[in-house]
């Protein structure tokens, strides 16, 4: 058991050495002013409509993630958290801003140049069944990255696949199976094994437990926790569930309609949240959330297809003032590691 850990650790070491010229203190990943937008209307309807032509799915978001750090991105559906994750992996093309990995800007890199950075950035998807090719056996799915990046000599491929599966808590007999023959929990283990075969520095996990049965969730969350501590991987953990984020993450960023509104170390966020939206979210979970009484958030959500200016949380915010209507507040640091986008946070 420890032997396979050792080989894996050795390959991790090799990777750290590969990135040796980079200062240990620079963040693994730096995202600056990232803007990703999707077209809402085309041609004539764009000319005739009064609303904006584009939907800003991610609107000038900046954050860093350190080595071995788990950053939670929390928000509701439509908050842009998944889009950020996919933009970092260049599955969506950002409109502007930069994504810097180990000091190298990969934002505008072409496919070929990008390939050597791909190893370092991996993803675990929400729906484990559709993240594995239905025509490929588990073996084929795991073999592809090993051969593609020449991670080990071809003679060792089988051994590596067995190791990867064992590490994820699966028996090597699963190699010969097809995705539809596995349960959701088993599939997600395979997907995690696949991401880790490349010894990535950063894994983007997009709601990896939300499609799993409740009784299987804990298994997968614990697997993430174990693998993260064992190999010191950085993880961007995307979830709508603050409680899950609290369990796994060191820091949490809260998103609301494309904007990052607050980012703080996990316990600080839970004990001393500053942004009114974070407070509202926390009111819906945790020990105080056990009853339906207490302050309630009124008002409708922001409409990203109609509104363009002002704070996204304006309509629901109990602390809103006039200037919140005209401009979205910029991110400001209120304490080391605790940033917030709110004009009125001092009042809270």
């Amino acid at each position: 058991m420890w032997e396979e850990g050792a080989t894996f650790a050795a390959s991790c070491m090799a990777m750290v050495e590969k990135a040796a010229p980079v200062d240990k203190n620079t963040p693994l990943l730096s995202v600056r002013d990232l803007l990703v937008r999707f077209k809402l209307r085309d041609g004539l309807s764009a000319a005739l409509s009064r609303g904006p032509t584009y939907l800003k799915a991610v609107d000038e978001v900046s954050f860093d993630i350190g080595r071995g750090e788990v950053l939670g991105l929390v928000g509701e559906s439509g908050s842009g958290k998944t889009t950020i994750g996919k933009a970092i992996l260049r599955l969506y093309e950002p409109q502007s801003g930069s994504i810097v990995v180990n000091g190298v800007d990969i934002t505008r890199m072409g496919d070929r140049a990008l390939k050597r950075y791909r190893r370092d950035l991996q993803m675990v998807f929400q729906d484990p069944l559709s993240s594995l090719n239905p025509r490929h056996t588990v073996r084929t799915s795991l073999r592809t990255p090993l051969l593609l990046h020449k991670i080990c000599p071809p003679s060792e491929v089988e051994k590596r696949i067995d190791e990867a599966l064992t590490r994820s808590g699966l028996s090597p007999v699963f190699k010969a199976r097809y995705p539809h023959e596995l349960s959701g929990g088993q599939l997600q283990r395979v997907a995690i094994a696949r991401a880790l075969t490349m010894s990535p520095g950063l894994v983007v996990a997009d709601e990896p437990v939300s499609k799993l049965d409740v009784s299987v969730r804990a298994q997968i969350l614990n697997l993430f926790k174990d693998l993260q501590t064992k190999f010191g991987i950085s993880i961007i953990f995307i979830t709508h569930d603050l409680r899950v984020a609290r369990y796994l993450c060191h820091r949490i960023g809260v998103m609301y309609f494309g904007k990052l509104v607050e980012i703080a170390p996990v316990e600080e966020l839970f004990t001393a949240p500053k942004h009114p939206y974070t407070k509202a979210l926390l009111g819906t979970v945790g020990a105080e959330g056990e009853s339906l009484d207490g302050a309630q958030v009124a008002g409708e959500a922001f409409n990203p297809a109609a509104d363009t200016t002002g704070c996204r949380y304006y309509a629901r915010c109990p602390m809103r003032v006039d200037r919140c209507k005209t401009a979205h507040p910029p991110m400001e640091t209120i304490k080391s590691g605790h940033d917030i986008a709110c004009y009125e946070w001092r009042r809270s």
Binding site: D213, V214, S215, V216, A218, N222, A280, V285, L292, Q296
Partner: protein, 329 residues
């Protein structure tokens, strides 16, 4: 019990597939009392939705439902003709689903939907008929009741112009026209964001208190159940494994599955170092274990658990558990 709105005894539902019947729900016993919220809790595949749909007779044609008793306020739902059942469903027996969008005709305004329901209600009693004449005012009042203050504006809109939360509120308003005796809701907040979910749950609780009706709430979410339900029934692989008052079940779960579920779900509410896991996976409905369905995953499993399925045991305090740890009932 006399105050039972809905009594279900020994309900079993299966689906005909290629000549044989695949049983997905068996031995379900429950009652929803007047003025009470009963939560039906389970994971996907536990049979909670099928149970709700069986009661409402909303399953596809290849479903077979059997029960010793299926009584709704003295009416035997099993022997009711399809026509009579349809009449009852949506009037005294209301339902709210996961996806409010599907419940509306996309080409008609909200006012049209309200008018339809009021007109239908108008044929029931003179009191309803009076309201049906004044359906506009009644609608605005009703929308205000479900937390939509500018009802007149909303009535002029089409379903796609409303947000998910507003649609779900409107749907609840439609249900309320009849002041039903029993509401069955199946994961009605799943597609809504956290904050709106909280608003809708509160709305449900307030309305249920005011109408003093029975409420069967189907969900997979333990936290929602804890907030909303007076009693809960925990389902696993097609059977109820534990039923009782919410507070007692949460503070002292008896069935090993309930214990595992609560440990893995609620431990997240506080800072936790390590989550407790339930090992293994849900059994395949085509290949169920011979004895207790939870036995393969249970840390207390012993030989007798494999022999035959355990019966429900009354453990006092209105609680029943299907587990050999608590006697043999």
């Amino acid at each position: 019990m006399s105050d039972a709105t809905l009594t279900v005894r020994n309900l079993a539902t299966g689906f005909k597939m290629g000549g044989r019947v695949m049983n997905v729900v068996r031995e379900v016993n429950l009652e929803v009392r007047k003025g009470e919220v009963l939560g039906l809790i389970g994971e996907s595949g536990s049979g909670k939705t099928v149970t709700g749909m069986s009661i409402l007779r909303l399953l596809p044609d290849n479903a077979v439902t059997e029960a010793d008793t299926l009584d709704f306020l003295g009416t035997d739902l099993l022997s009711l003709s399809a026509e009579r059942f349809r009449e009852m469903r949506g009037t005294r027996l209301a339902m709210v689903f996961q996806d409010p969008v599907g419940a509306f005709n996309p080409s008609k305004k909200i006012s049209w939907h309200l008018k339809q329901v009021f007109e239908r209600a108008g044929t029931k009693s003179p009191e309803h008929a009076a309201r049906a004449k004044n359906w506009r005012q009644a609608s605005i009042k009703l929308l205000a009741d479900v937390g939509i203050p500018h009802g007149a504006n909303v009535m002029r809109q089409y379903p796609h112009q409303l947000s998910g939360g507003m649609l779900q509120r409107t749907l609840i308003a439609l249900v309320l026209v009849f002041e039903p005796d029993l509401i069955v809701a199946d994961e009605p907040t799943t597609n809504l964001d956290n904050i709106v979910e909280r608003q809708i749950l509160r709305l449900f609780r307030d309305l249920q208190k005011r109408l003093d009706c029975g409420f069967l709430y189907v969900t997979h979410d333990m936290t929602i159940a804890a907030m909303l339900c007076d009693r809960i029934a925990v389902m696993y692989a097609g059977s109820i494994v534990e039923i009782g008052p919410t507070k007692q079940i949460f503070s002292d779960p008896k069935h090993p599955y309930t214990q595992g579920l609560l440990a893995s779900a609620l431990a997240l509410d506080t800072k936790t170092e390590r989550l407790q896991e339930i090992p293994g996976e849900l059994p395949n409905p085509g290949n169920l274990p011979p004895g207790c369905l939870f036995e393969p995953r249970c840390k207390f499993a012993k030989a007798e658990c494999r022999a035959k399925p355990p019966a429900m045991t009354d453990v006092g305090g209105g609680r029943n558990v299907r587990c050999v740890l608590y006697g043999h009932g």
